[in-house]
Point group: C2
Amino acid sequence: MKPRLNIVTLGVKDLQISRDFYGNILGWKEAVSSDENIVFYYQGGIVVGLYPLDKLAEDANISHERSGFSGVAFAINQDSKEAVDQLYFRVVEGGAKPLIKPRETFWGGYDAYFADPDGYAWEIAWAPFWEFDEQGSLKM
Amino acid sequence: MKPRLNIVTLGVKDLQISRDFYGNILGWKEAVSSDENIVFYYQGGIVVGLYPLDKLAEDANISHERSGFSGVAFAINQDSKEAVDQLYFRVVEGGAKPLIKPRETFWGGYDAYFADPDGYAWEIAWAPFWEFDEQGSLKM
């Protein structure tokens, strides 16, 4: 197998709060997991995981101390500007921290940013020149 | 489109150093990009991007200050323990910081961790109970 990104695991402070956020606000369905401390969301080819931050840091042999920006932005693409607006207002009503309100972007698209319960930055984007299949997988 | 993760963008200090690392050491092929400041790697359904940290933080309206653990772990799955070893030694020889040497894991698999030039944690894993197609996409 060629090396490629298969799993993105977010270290979270409170698993139940994050699980409520991703499950109820974003509407993601949990995959079966053999460990009650980890939550997996299958996303068509890859998996997003939630795992307590201290356990994740211990697993990777890194101090769990963190401050400021994670340095990473995650993007969710939508197929219209209206869909960006709708998802943005849904997550903000659901308790996400607003970072950037929906706007026209310098690169010809339309986006907004919010932070999840642990401060991870998520972009909701409409990018007119990118194509996706019915499952929301990017085609290239 | 249902909301799902489509793009993971890593904020990097030096685009050329990171590009050399992901392109030459991990062997990822760059996708065409209209902006010389951003590098995209298509990974079968999703895209990994590299973008200068300060620009990414500005785009998301977050201070670019960061310290300690990003809080996120990225995993690359391989189809055997030997393949985990090989990739681990290749990235460490290529300059990646070793975090965890290849080991048997408590969850019944085999893994190792390294940090990329910006300190982002990557796990290389063999998970006997997960299946992948020929393109390395996780099947579930």
